[in-house]
C-alpha cells in the first residue's frame, strides 16, 4: 500500500497547489477578509505544518542513501518549524513580522537540500533536471518571505510568495521516476517508464 516515490511527489504537489491557491486568494481579497473565518485563517499555515509533518515518514520510508535521508530530514525540520511559526502567528502568539524569516530559512534550506542531494547533472533525466530547477527556484524565491519580514504589507512580496508554491507544485507534478527531459536521458538512468 506504500505509494511509489513519484506519487509522493504528486501528493506533495497537491498540497503545495492548495497552499498556493489559498495564498493567492489571500493576496486578492486582503488578509483582513481572508481571516474573517477562523478555519480559513488556519488553512494554509495548517497545511504548511501538515506538509512538514508528512515529510518525516518520507524521510523514513523513501531513503535510498545517506544524503537523501539528510536532505529529507532537513526539509522535514524546516517545513515543520516554518508551519508551526505561521500557525503561532495566526493565533497571535507571535507578533513580530521578523518571524517570516522562518519561512525564508525553510526556502533556503530546502533549496540547498535539493541541490546538494541531487548527485547527477541537469540533463541526466527528468527528475535530476527538476531537482536542480526546484533547488534554484527555492533559493531565488527565498527573497519573497525575506521581503515579507521587512515589508509585511507588500502585495508584491505576498504574490511572489504565493506563486512560488504554485510553481513548485507544477514542477513536482512533472516529476516522474525514469523519464527524459527535453529529449535527454542518460543510458545510465535505467529503463524509461512509458
Amino acid at each position: 500500500m506504500q505509494p511509489p516515490a513519484e506519487h509522493v511527489h504528486w501528493l506533495f504537489a497537491t498540497g503545495f497547489l492548495v497552499l498556493g491557491l489559498c495564498l493567492l486568494a489571500e493576496v486578492v481579497v486582503g488578509t483582513d477578509v481572508w481571516r474573517l473565518r477562523a478555519w480559513r485563517a488556519y488553512l494554509w499555515p495548517g497545511m504548511a505544518f501538515a506538509l512538514g509533518v508528512l515529510m518525516w515518514p518520507v524521510m523514513v520510508f523513501y531513503t535510498n542513501s545517506t544524503i537523501h535521508m539528510l536532505a529529507h530530514g532537513a526539509w522535514a525540520e524546516v517545513m515543520t518549524f516554518a508551519g508551526a511559526v505561521e500557525l503561532a502567528r495566526v493565533r497571535g502568539k507571535l507578533r513580530s513580522s521578523a518571524w517570516s524569516l522562518a519561512m525564508a530559512a525553510a526556502f533556503l534550506v530546502s533549496g540547498l537540500a535539493f541541490l546538494v542531494h541531487e548527485q547527477n547533472a541537469w540533463f541526466f533525466m527528468r527528475s535530476a533536471f527538476l531537482h536542480h530547477l526546484l533547488g534554484w527556484t527555492l533559493l531565488v524565491a527565498s527573497v519573497f518571505p525575506l521581503a515579507r519580514s521587512v515589508r509585511p504589507r507588500s502585495s508584491f512580496a505576498a504574490a511572489g510568495f504565493a506563486l512560488t508554491f504554485v510553481v513548485i507544485a507544477v514542477m513536482l507534478y512533472c516529476d516522474r521516476d525514469v523519464a527524459p527531459v527535453f529529449g535527454h536521458i542518460s543510458p545510465l538512468a535505467g529503463e524509461q517508464h512509458r
Binding site: P3, H7, W10, L17, V28, V29, L36, R40, R194
Partner: protein
C-alpha cells in the same frame, strides 16, 4: 426619496474585480487539469485500466489538479465571496 439610494438598491449585485479574480482561481485550476488530461490522456489510467494498483488509477496529476480546483471552488470560495461582499457593504 433619495434617488441615488434607490438606484443603489435596484442595481444588481455587481461583482468586484477582486471577486471575479478570486472566483476564477478554482475553475482555471480545474481547467488546467482537464487540458492536461486531454494533452496526455495516457496519464488517466482510469480510462483504460489494465490491472493498475490504486495509486496508478486514482493518484494521477491531472486528476489531482482538477480535485484542487474543485475543492477551492466549492469549499473555500463561497464563504470568501460572502465575506468579501459583507466587507464591501460595511465599508459603504
Amino acid at each position: 426619496m433619495n434617488a441615488e439610494f434607490v438606484s443603489e438598491l435596484e442595481a444588481p449585485a455587481r461583482s468586484t474585480v477582486r471577486a471575479r479574480v478570486v472566483s476564477a482561481l478554482g475553475p482555471v485550476t480545474a481547467l488546467a487539469g482537464v487540458v492536461w488530461a486531454i494533452v496526455q490522456p495516457y496519464r488517466i489510467t482510469l480510462l483504460h485500466p489494465d490491472g493498475e494498483s490504486f495509486w496508478w488509477l486514482l493518484v494521477q496529476p491531472p486528476l489531482l489538479v482538477i480535485a484542487v480546483g474543485l475543492f477551492f471552488y466549492f469549499a473555500v470560495l463561497p464563504g470568501l465571496l460572502a465575506d468579501l461582499e459583507e466587507g464591501r457593504a460595511t465599508s459603504r
